[in-house]
């Protein structure tokens, strides 16, 4: 990894860290882990639980792909802290525009993990109603959703839902994307639009170091968070494997947006410990020692060490979380296999709000054709 792009090993102003890989709490001059009225230890235990369950969603789904139950799965292994830290900083009225890897954020928003599988099983292309959880459907075209987020934020502005001081009204939008997407025109255009209109949007980049086989050096000669300055809004780099720091930094960025102070870019510096997707083979393009180094920075392990060492959780707690993860895994296994295939004729139904005669005719023609087969009923 190029020294130019890597953060200083001890943190520093361009790398916000509040919990070290060794499980030590550290101070940062600008950001602190503030949970308001809540019990801090309980919140951290909650993050631990969220991350363990998210990892289980991921490993279970990977296994389901290996067993042929999913066509493909986009793994998030290693990115749990980035997703839970940012996801838990959101309020119900905030709106999320994810990529196809935001399983942890989806979980935070209350989307049933089983629903995530539809896309990857090939029975659905967007199986949850975005309006129910303010969580848009997964976007596969790289970076396209950052513009949707910016436009949505422009709508929030027009609705007067920023800067009122009402914590239940003021709204922020968050756009997730990756290091590869940062090269896309749409991402750069979304920065321009958001800056131009001072839109209440947080650009949350999970820099997991790899865009399939291409390392971050192929995308950028400067740390990604520094790009924000060129567009005229602040950028901050956070240890994306540190759930406390990610929560703190995202919370501040969201609040800034809700108050009407415009966009922020957050670069969550993390690592894709698995493959790009289950069809990818990272041994073809990266050294195993790199993975070994990052395993020492595991986002979940450091929280467990912290909770244990400070007697904030006992073995019963960890056992309970493990049991819950087992139950979730079993539910996903059974639920996945029970997901029904869509009916062939259903593809004609939602092309338009107002069905066209020509498409209705095509549908009827195909229905009549199907009827000609024996046992059609």
């Amino acid at each position: 990894m190029s020294e130019l792009l890597a953060p200083t090993p001890t943190g520093g102003p361009d790398f916000v860290q509040l919990l070290t890989p060794e499980g030590q709490r550290v101070e940062h001059p600008e950001y602190s882990f503030d949970v308001g009225e809540a019990d801090e230890a309980e919140v951290v235990r909650g993050f631990y639980r969220d991350m363990v369950l998210t990892r289980r969603i991921d490993t279970e789904s990977t296994a389901l792909q290996r067993h042929g139950e999913l066509g493909i799965w986009a793994q998030l292994l290693g990115q749990e802290a980035a997703q839970i830290g940012s996801g838990r900083a959101l309020r119900p009225q905030d709106y999320v525009f994810p990529t196809y890897r935001e399983h942890g954020v989806a979980y935070c928003r209350g989307v049933d993990p089983l629903r995530l599988l539809g896309l990857f099983r090939g029975v659905d292309q967007g199986s949850w109603d975005p309006r129910q959880n303010n969580f848009a459907n997964y976007t596969i075209v790289i970076g396209a959703q950052t513009l949707h987020a910016t436009g949505y934020a422009m709508g929030v502005q027009r609705d007067g839902a920023i800067g009122t001081g009402d914590p239940e009204r003021d709204t922020a939008v968050i756009a997730y994307f990756g290091d590869g997407a940062s090269s896309q025109g749409d991402v750069n255009e979304s920065f321009v639009f958001a800056a131009s209109y001072n839109a209440p949007v947080v650009f949350f980049c999970q820099n997991n170091q790899w865009a399939i086989s291409e390392p971050i050096e192929r995308q950028s000669r400067i740390p990604l968070y520094q790009r924000a300055h060129g567009f005229g809004f602040p950028g901050v780099r956070v240890d994306g494997n540190d759930v406390l720091a990610t929560y703190a930094v995202t919370q501040a960025a969201l609040q800034r947006a809700r108050e009407g102070n415009g966009p922020t870019m957050v670069e969550a510096y993390t690592y894709r410990m698995g493959a790009h997707t289950t069809t990818d083979d990272p041994t073809r393009y990266r050294m195993s020692e790199e993975l070994e180094k990052w395993k020492l920075k595991d986002p979940i392990a450091r929280v467990k060490v912290y909770l244990t060492r400070n007697a904030l959780a006992d073995q019963d707690f960890f056992d309970e979380v493990e049991t819950e993860a087992e139950q979730l895994g079993a539910r996903l296994r059974d639920g996945c296999k029970a997901l029904p295939d869509p009916s062939p004729l259903s593809i004609f139904d939602q092309v338009y709000v107002e069905q066209t005669d020509e498409l209705a005719e095509q549908r009827d023609g195909y229905a009549a054709y199907l009827e000609t087969f024996e046992g059609a009923h």
Binding site: Q125, P130, G151, E189, Y352, V353
Partner: protein, 328 residues
Amino acid sequence: MTKMTLAKALNAGLRKAMEADPKVLLMGEDVGKLGGVFRITDGLQKDFGEDRVIDSPLAESGILGTAVGLAMRGYRPVCEIQFDGFVYPAYDQIVSQVAKIHFRTHGHVRMPMVIRIPYGGGIGAVEHHSESPEAQFAHTPGLKVVTCSNPVDGYFMIQQAIASDDPVVFLEPKRQYHADKAEVYESTPLADAQPLFTSRVVRAGSDLTLLAYGPMVKTAMKAAEAAAGEGRSVEVVDLRTLSPLDLAPVYESVRRTGRAVVTHEAHSNLGMGSEIAARITEHCFYSLEAPVLRVGGFDTPYPPSRIEEEYLPDLDRVLDAVDRTFDF
């Protein structure tokens, strides 16, 4: 009733739509103070404010992509693409997002959006300013594509497109913007106007059916007039809607006339004419006296403007095709 050009009619239609629904927004390059390079949005920012008539950064994908987000928030964006040849940076957002979101979300999310594109040639412009990309949008499920040929249709169709809950690509024949004036009855309720996704017989005839849309309707009418002088009675249909196509009146016509010619400025290869010819053949096979002929732009890039009249189908090329159908 007011006599107005197509440009004025579109402006009046946009104004009416904005008055009718506060969620309607206009966005595009130079649509605000300048009123658009063709002045279609003239005066609207002054009256509706910068929040509703949005001068966008110079980025077409940005315009369409942010419009998607605005639509998700409950707005009805009307996006202006400055010229036909500049729509391609936004093509991905239009084809992969705008067209598919309703389908992808099982109807949970609608895209009530209008994408206005001035199109076609004949104005002596430089490259990328005279193209006819309609087939590229009509080919895409999830989009609807319409085009107006005259001020009256322009006034009503733009309002109907904005009222549609489906995304509509609205093609405006730029060489007609300031060409002719027509009487527009602005007090006519929208509900009483001809439905948006329908074609119209604009001249009755009995020997041949001539199909046109947008800028070519005027040429087709002249061709029919000239043919009448030679004793041939040509029925002219203004298609108005390209996706969906409304061909029932065309089939009815062709069954009477036995001959059909389709004309458009766009390239002939896989142009709208190809699809229309196929459908007429399928539906009117036993009535046809001759194959359906196409008169389109050539299958070349749009040429330098000094020779664009050679490229654009004109009266003579249309009449030549009409004559050829009588050789069979």
